[in-house]
Amino acid sequence: MKIAQLAGSAAIALLSANAAQAQQTELTLCWAAWDPANALVELSKDFEAESGIKMKFEFVPWPNFADRMLNELNSGGKLCDLMIGDSQWIGGSAENGHYVKLNDFFDANGITMDAFVPATVTGYSEWPKNSPNYWSLPAFGDVVGWTYRKDWFERPEIQAAFKEKYGRDLTPPATFAELKDIGEFFQGREIDGKTVYGLSIYTERGSEGITMGVMDVLYSFGFLYENPEKPYEMEGFVNSPGAVAGLEFYKSLYDCCVAPGTSNTYMGEGIDAYKSGQVAMQMNFAFTWPGFEVDPNVGGGKTGYLVNPAGPDGQQFAQLGGQGISVVAYSEKQDAALEYIKWFAKPEVQSKWWSIGGFSCLRAVVEDPAFATSQPYAQTFLDSMAIVKDFWAEPSYASLLQASQKRFHDYVVAGNGTAKEALDGMIADWTEVFEDDGKL
């Protein structure tokens, strides 16, 4: 009896010790401070309950996210065990040893990249690109698209005025030329006693805003980062006639159709402009869309969602956003961090992720027949993810990005020089970066 009691006590003590140990493990996940991060906090409660591992979060607002987190990684900091880093960080983080390579972990746990949307695997996980070397699990799919005031578009008097001016029905634009017409049409128009404006586009100077906006247009005008046959050869591709026309077009959008004072706007300002009823159409990442659906001013069927329109030759691409989740190489809790990734990759978790506002990249979720009708923006998201392109993900991406920020803002917003000069200047800047890296 005594032995049995002792054994029982020992077993209870052992179980308590394990539970206490699990309770003691605390993982810190680093990401940007935005709506999806709040959804992830909610989602992660299931992981805490399942594993006994406590989750802590470190969220930094977007304008400072890259600065803060890249400093953390570059200094070998141990703040973050898990990092949902931007897609452009993948090259540097892989080459500089910030992220743990996940191939063996994926193989051992039956996680296959074929289960995820191909564009997100290439964009968020692979380095070098198009090689089976995985440094993250696609966590949050995102892409630049457009929202428009469906309720305004449907008003008979507005439709009539548009038809009278342009000779066609006011419908969501299929091409950028149509988009500009709509922007011009709404610019300065009185709606419900208020002056409204045509478009909200990205013009932010400090981090990545204007580059994301310009690239979103340039791709469909024929811009290429490099010669597909000869890497890093940019002359004639970055500054091709199509690219020049695309940049001129973006400037024309800025000149004709934005609200006054929008010379330094990005995601947050776009959301504010759209929700407050200031603009008819808004360029923004898909992550903003769930927020519009529940907004009292623009939700409840007042907003329509639109894939990036096509360029003059019918080409249609969109700027990729989104991130993958990685294990930080400096973390002392890598096993627990991998445990989180294993849990996050489960189809049922991904399904819940989508239902609470996270843009899942799992094909089982997005290819489900019910997916397209699950949210008003679901089909637009799917269609947009099929046409994505992304900025350089090289280890020197920040230098490349700063160069494009400078050149684009100088031309589009400040109005200095020509589009050709801006793109030529950008080639010169990028060439210098690649020469410094020994790639040219």
Binding site: A66, D67, L70, N71, L73, N74, G92, E95, N96, G97, E204, R205, G206, S207, A259, P260, G261, T262, S263, N264, P395, S396, A398, S399, Q402, K406, H409, D410, Y411, V413, A414, G415, N416, D436
Partner: protein
Amino acid sequence: MHNPIDIAARATPRPVARRLRGLSDRAIAWIFVAPTIFLLLAINIFPLIWTIRLSFTNYAANRPNREVEWVGLRNYSRILTDADTWANMQSTAHFLIWTITFQVVIGFTLAWLINRKFKGNDLLTTLIVLPMMLSPAVVGNFWTFLYQPQIGLVNYAVEAVAGIPASSFSMLGPGGWARWAIVIVDTWMWTPFVMLICLAGLRSIPDYIYEAAEVDRASKWRQFWTITLPMALPFLMLAVLFRGIENFKMFDMVTLLTGGGPGNETLLTSIDLKREAFEKWRTGYASAYAIILFVTVFGLASIYVKALNKVKER
């Protein structure tokens, strides 16, 4: 026997006292000064020497695996031959010259006006110094709203005074206003600081000098030029030195207001340097940039301090 020094000396533990007994005054002085010198070397001199060394390499702090190459003067020549660097220097010079000019003129005038006895003097002084108590981040965000063409008070004030439609121009956007917009904000925030220093200068002038001038029937104007200004000048020059050094390093407020834009119009050297060092991670290049700026500030400050000393000696 009850002298505090004797008491303190007797409190020294015997082994320590025995060891110190054989040391000269100079050696003891060195022992006391050594920690400070060590800290100075560790925190200031060593990083400076290290930065100079890095400025001749292609080192990138975010790429520890890359081989560090000695590039000689390449970083320096690139910086000094880059048109953008000179454009940024021009923006910085514009910001420095105009902020200091406005702050000195307005600050000195305010100090001169407030240096009189009247009811509510203390309250007024407190109200005037409020802006400099705010955080630059708060000021940056606050003025971004004030400059907003549709809801900002500044544009509405311009419309009311000059009749220019409020939403037809943007202080922080294209059109050449952005450089002036940041000058206005800095002047609003830091004029009180200059005013306080000038006030200290004005209050240090003994009344009997003015009384003697009154006896000699010197006019107010003459008293100002021959007594007030010369005697307050060292204080004024000190304020200029402080503001000059501070504004050469200006980063936070301008970043919040314009992010360096439109284009590169308000890209001050400190913002550019931060981007090179901590966004592009071109550590070697940024080190060379920092050394160039250091030499510039150090050189200008040295000349200025010499001038300040001459004024004081007068």
